[in-house]
């Protein structure tokens, strides 16, 4: 057996519920101390994977190795992890202290030491005075932190978090993101967090595992995932992305709707595909002049709607009736300079590095309905998925 | 010295009773609830090493239970169950023949005819009609003097009698009518009677109690219950139909397979004693041992003369056929009055 540098290794994991395949050939390695997010629309198998790691679901095939120990068939009691559930699952009839000490009682820890540990944990989560309260008397954010403290109390080697922030309101959620990250860094505990919120994953994780229909779509750092989405699915799911169906006419030529456009990059050999670019990567121009078509994609579109979004303005632009609208995000000042009015035609220029082209995929990869569950997706993406 | 001996004897006696705890004998019975205590007390004071555990229900139910438990008997003995029922059990081979000491002193008709009898009779209980004076007056009902009287239209809806399927009294009535009137006329009589019956009750004493409470003016029941109720102050009289009164014996027997055979035999021995017969006489005018009977208050002294010449063998052998026929004729009829 070769010694690996990875703390947790998952190899060819498969799990199904009846005829439904929830996890399909999942392989994954996590380094010690790493913070990994499982990201994906709900129902894609994130929780199932997390529970398989915890031993709460039993896979049909595959191996799980945790710090060089094969834990594939161990019951949860014999594995080494702490877990926080979406519902927190705090015991409502026990005080906060009793909740945190719940796992300690079993470790034959002397009473005094136990109290000491509970106190330290309460301080660690910044709630030193709530030990005698019951969970029902706490706010959602406080409950969440208590659940975290309980999971950490037994000093597990692996921390599992299943959508720990989804039940909180926006403000608390932002605050706790930072707290959890800080605590994780401080303790250096290997952590896996499940979330369907791309912002959460992008801001918190060292690495993100994007999942789709029980498979891994992409593994990478937040930057990689955002900038180089490996598949159309990832592109659609992470950040907003304009996606337009296109017919390939030549190596550098595409049919967008009823218009032929020249692309700066060489297109793969296929008939059809999807052209994608992010709304913020577009430069708006009054005319097609002065743009290098070898480095930029250029086309004209009509301004249909203007939405004020706070830090920026989102323009909805129509290229062609057959195509979904294109979103273009411009800074507020830039928008003021542009002084565009509805109905006006503008030129859109997108640099080559920001352009993605996804050849038409196998049917099962772009099933409609996936997009429905992803809340932050742009209008264009929705329409693509629906088409 | 003498004192020492007495003490020693007492000590021995004490250890003896302590060592052999009283055997508990499970006895199935259809005796009336208010008789059980005195019977058990009398028996247990005569035989301190045996305790009686009564299982009491009406005749039909006790018979049914005994039959149901045929493969796994729960009873050790039976005391105070209709002889017709015991004859059925005997036919099923469920009774252990035993000849109690002193059985010769009983009237022969109270003892099973076999060499070693399977059952012995205790007393006889006799059909009679309870007649509520107050209610009868309200409805203008004359006191019936014969069974045939009861079929008169005037009594329509004013009669209650026990259901022979559950009640021993009910069965002795039916069996006696079939014997007195003959099979064909007997059923004819019951057809007519059925027109007047308001209700068939589960137990044999209930019609008389209903008459006593004015729930019905006339109840066909048995004499002992009537006498008791009169003594309690119920406004009823007893009528003894002239064609003759049906009757049955209360009898005792040992259940085959009992593991307390000795105690069961003790009970049988007691059941034929004079003391026991005297006790039976507290409730019944006719008992198994001749010469014991003394008159019971409000109980006719000449009742023995009014009893029909009952053929138990016939009543037992035909029991299931008669009950089936009866059920088919009268039981399913939901509205007895039309």
């Amino acid at each position: 057996m070769t010694h690996s540098t990875h703390y947790l290794q998952i190899e060819h994991l498969r799990k199904s519920f009846g005829s439904f395949t929830a996890l399909d050939d999942i392989s994954l390695a996590i380094k010690e101390g790493e913070f990994v997010c499982f990201l994906g629309p709900s129902g894609c198998g994130k929780t199932t994977l997390l529970r398989a790691i915890a031993g709460l679901e039993l896979q049909e095939e595959g191996r799980i190795v945790q710090s060089d120990r094969d834990i594939s068939t161990l019951p949860p009691q014999q594995r080494d992890f702490g877990i926080v559930f979406q519902s927190y699952a705090l015991f409502p009839n026990l005080t906060v202290s009793e909740n945190i000490a719940y796992g300690l009682a079993n470790m034959k820890m002397p009473r005094g030491e136990r109290q000491q540990r509970v106190k330290a944990l309460l301080e660690q989560i910044d709630l030193p005075d709530i030990g005698n309260k019951y969970p029902g008397q706490l706010s959602g954010g406080q409950q969440q932190r208590v659940a975290l403290a309980r999971a950490l109390a037994t000093e597990p080697g692996l921390l599992l978090l299943d959508e720990p922030l989804s039940a909180l309101d926006a403000r608390v959620r932002l605050h706790l993101r930072q707290e959890i990250c800080a605590l994780q860094r401080k303790l250096g505990i290997t952590t896996i967090m499940v979330t369907h919120d791309q912002d959460e994953a992008l801001t918190m994780a060292d690495r993100i595992v994007v999942m789709d229909h029980g498979r891994i779509a992409q593994i990478g750092t937040p930057e990689e995932i955002y900038q180089k989405p490996a598949t159309e699915f990832v592109a659609r799911f992470v950040g907003s992305m304009n996606l337009m169906p296109a017919r390939v006419l030549g190596a550098r030529s595409l049919m967008l709707g009823r218009k032929e456009v020249q692309t700066p990059m060489v297109l793969p050999a296929c008939d059809e595909g999807t052209l994608g670019f992010r709304p913020e990567s577009v430069q708006l121009l009054d005319g097609p002049w002065g743009v290098n078509r070898d480095e930029n994609l250029l086309f004209e579109a009509r301004l249909d709607q203007i939405q004020f979004m706070g830090p920026f303005v989102r323009l909805e632009m129509c290229l062609d009736e057959e195509l979904p609208c294109v979103h273009v995000d411009v800074a507020v000042e830039q928008h003021a300079q542009l002084n565009a009015s509805i109905g006006q035609s503008l030129w859109l220029s997108i640099p080559e590095k920001d352009l993605k082209f996804y050849p038409a995929q196998h049917l099962n990869q772009s099933k409609p309905g996936v997009s429905r569950t992803a809340p932050d997706m742009g209008l264009a993406a929705m329409q693509v998925a629906g088409a | 010295m003498n004192l020492k001996k007495t003490l020693l004897a007492a000590a021995v006696a004490l250890t003896a009773t302590g060592a052999q705890a009283a055997t508990e004998l499970t006895v199935y019975t259809a005796l009336e609830a208010d008789q059980l205590k005195s019977y058990a007390k009398a028996f247990e004071s005569a035989n301190p090493d045996v305790k009686i555990r009564w299982v009491r229900d009406s005749t039909g139910i006790i018979t049914a239970r005994l039959l149901a438990e045929k493969d796994n008997p729960q009873a050790d003995a039976v005391l105070g169950l209709a002889a017709t029922s015991l004859l059925v059990l005997k036919g099923e081979g469920m009774l252990q023949p035993y000849k109690p000491a002193g059985v010769e002193q009983l009237s022969t008709q109270f003892v099973d005819k076999d060499e070693t009898p399977s059952w012995i009779g205790m007393d006889a209980w006799v059909a009679s009609v309870c007649y509520n004076r107050i209610e009868a007056e309200k409805h203008d009902l004359p006191m019936p003097t014969s069974w045939k009287d009861l079929t008169k239209p005037v009594y329509q809806g004013h009669l209650v009698m026990p259901n022979p399927n559950s009640s021993g009294t009910g069965y002795l009535d039916v069996a006696s009518w079939l014997q007195t009137f003959g099979e064909e006329d007997g059923w004819k009589f019951m057809d007519d009677l059925h027109q007047n019956i308001d209700r068939y009750t589960h137990s044999g004493s209930k019609p008389c109690k209903m008459a006593a409470a004015g729930e019905t003016p006339i109840g066909i029941s048995f004499a002992y219950r009537g006498a008791k109720l009169i003594n309690k102050g119920a406004p009823i009289d007893l009528a003894f139909p002239s064609e003759g009164l049906g009757w049955d014996m209360e009898a005792a027997a040992i259940i085959k397979g009992s593991d307390k055979m000795d105690a069961a035999k003790t009970l049988m021995d007691w059941a034929v004693t004079k003391d026991a017969n005297t006790l039976y006489n507290g409730s019944y005018a006719v008992v198994a041992m001749p010469g014991v009977a003394k008159p019971v208050p409000n109980y006719p002294s000449d009742i023995a003369d009014r009893m029909i010449d009952n053929d138990f063998e016939w009543a037992a052998v035909n029991r299931s056929r008669i009950l089936k026929e009866w059920q088919q004729r009268y039981d399913g009829k939901s509205e007895p009055k039309n």
Partner: protein, 563 residues
């Protein structure tokens, strides 16, 4: 599947999950032995002759050839239909008044309607005798000639079944959505149309459910028909007569099978409806605030007062009659009727047996029901066994008590059954009663367990705390109110039930509820009423204790419930 098995088989030894497997298996075994096996034995008996030889459908042919017996099917259905119609109509208006009107005194009305739950079903029947019998105080009010028969059965059953119907309908009415009424009002819909288009559809499933529950309850009832039925035979009393009167166990089994059918059908329909009802509940609704409307409220108050008056009259009559020395000729008050030792049925010993039996049933039953429901709800092992468990747990609801009792004789008194030692003991009475009332308890436990977070078991596994510790420290305390509910439900029903235990008691274990029946059979109606009253009082005391415990002790130990 085979893969799962191999991985599962490779799973390293884990004493905890084996303990869980063991408990689930024991639960399944318990219900198989105490419910399914007796019923199947009975089914087999119905195909045998007296000597135990297989004779196919001969018994059934004999049964259907006998018009006297088949008449009872019609009678049972007639009784059940009438009672269902009367009870459901009255309960519908009553529930409407309690939930939708601005009527005053709702709490009092609600309390009074609960009373019949604590009385044995024989009590209203005995009351009928004193109210409408030949010496009854209200005899002249009776529109038919005699109370003994269908009319008496229907009135008695209506009294007894009413609170059951009311409970379901109140729940149905409480679940409606105020937004629909506001919408209707904003469209100026006349009240009768609102009733037809909003009110009725929203309680539709509750109504159907009630109809089937009441139909099942009444078609299987034994006690009322036994006391007040006169010559009007129904299926349940036929079973009793066949068995005790005719010694015809095979025919008893046949009638039992016949009685099982309508009960099973209506049970199946009810389950189906129940499922839809719960789907309806998940929608987000705004609770309706009842509005005042003087005329309607006055009419409804009058209606409720009449209904409650009737319930109190029935109970009051039984209480009063139990103190009368010798009805109707000596109306002096005395305690003579409470001298049970002079009566049939086992005397005061029966009462104490009943207390003992009920206490055991409450303790053992609650423990078994809760543990089985817990395993079924919270432990994810052995899916097939758990599905079987769930099915078996629902079955007792459809099995009439008298059928279950007879099935127990067949099964537990069989000489080859190694468990036949419990025949005739307290144990068989407790076992039978637990099984007889299993379903409602199981549903109560399951409902309360469903409200408890499903991840507690996973959390404790991750903290390496055994599941039984979490069961003791967390789940049980959380479910304590419903555990208490179950135990008092079992106690009260064990105290008052007649039908299932009537075949199973022995002379050492005579029961008070059966004694009521025996005293009535022997014609001692007043003592029977006295015992019934005593049973009702005992049940009320138990309920009172339960109330005190849940309001006093719970308040102290369950501080966490306060927010």
């Amino acid at each position: 599947m085979s893969n799962t098995l191999t991985i599962a088989a490779r799973r390293s030894f884990d004493s905890e999950s084996w303990l869980q497997r063991l408990v689930i298996s024991l639960g399944v075994l318990f219900l198989l032995l105490a419910l399914l096996a007796p019923l199947l034995t009975m089914l087999v008996k119905s195909l045998q002759n007296g000597a135990g030889e297989f004779i196919g459908l001969h018994n059934f042919i004999a049964y259907f050839d006998n018009p006297a017996l088949t008449q009872s099917i019609l009678n049972s259905i007639t009784i059940a239909l009438w009672t269902t119609f009367i009870v459901v109509s009255i309960a519908f208006v009553f529930a409407y008044a309690l939930t939708r009107s601005g009527m005053a005194g709702k709490k009092t009305f609600r309390l009074v309607t609960m009373l019949p739950l604590f009385a044995p079903s024989l009590l209203p029947a005995l009351s009928m005798i004193y109210l409408f019998g030949n010496q009854g105080i209200l005899k002249d009010w009776l529109p038919v000639e005699s109370i003994y028969g269908p009319v008496g059965i229907v009135i008695g059953l209506s009294f007894w079944a009413f609170p059951h119907a009311l409970m379901i309908l109140i729940t149905a009415f409480s679940n409606s959505d105020a937004r629909l009424y506001e919408a209707a009002k904003s469209m100026k819909t006349p009240p009768w149309r609102v009733f037809l288009t909003v009110t009725l559809p929203s309680v539709r499933y509750g109504l159907i459910n009630t109809i089937f529950v009441i139909f099942t309850l009444t078609i299987t009832d034994f006690g009322v028909a036994k006391v007040i039925g006169g010559q009007y035979n129904v299926l349940a009393t036929d079973i009793y007569k066949q068995v005790v009167g005719q010694q015809n166990f095979q025919m008893g089994a046949v009638v039992s099978v016949v009685l099982l059918l309508p009960a099973l059908i209506s049970f199946a329909v009810e389950r189906r409806v129940q499922r839809r009802q719960s789907a309806l509940l998940t929608s987000r609704a705004v609770p309706l605030q009842p509005q005042k409307s003087p005329l309607r409220d006055a009419l409804l108050t009058l209606f409720c007062a009449l209904v409650c008056g009737f319930l109190l009259l029935v109970i009051g009559m039984a209480v009063y009659a139990s103190f009368i020395t010798f009805w109707p000729y000596n109306m002096e008050l005395s305690l003579n009727n409470y001298r049970f030792d002079m009566m049939d049925g086992g005397g005061w010993a029966s009462y104490f047996n009943s207390l003992q039996m009920s206490a055991w049933t409450a303790v053992i039953g609650t423990a078994v029901v809760f543990l089985v429901a817990y395993m079924n709800e919270k432990i994810k092992l052995m899916p097939f066994a758990r599905r079987l468990l769930q099915l078996l747990a629902m079955l007792p609801m459809a099995v009439p008590g008298i059928v279950l009792g007879l099935a127990y004789i067949f099964f537990f008194n069989h000489p080859d059954n190694p468990m036949n030692g419990i025949y005739g003991t307290m144990a068989i009475l407790v076992l039978n009663t637990v099984v007889h009332f299993y379903t409602v308890c199981h549903l109560t436990a399951t409902t309360s367990l469903k409200q408890i977070d499903n991840e507690f078991e996973a959390v404790s596994a991750s903290l390496k705390v055994p599941f039984y510790t979490t069961l003791r420290r967390v789940t049980l305390p959380l479910a304590l109110p419903s555990v208490l509910d179950i135990s008092v439900y079992l106690f009260v029903n064990a105290m008052t039930t007649v039908s299932a235990v009537v075949f199973l008691y022995s002379s050492d274990t005579t029961l008070a509820s059966v004694a009521v029946m025996h005293m009535d059979e022997a014609g001692d109606i007043a003592p029977a009423a006295a015992m019934a009253v005593l049973l009702m009082l005992t049940s009320l005391v138990a309920k009172g204790l339960h109330w005190m415990i849940s309001h006093q002790i719970l308040q102290r130990t369950q501080r966490w419930r306060q927010r």
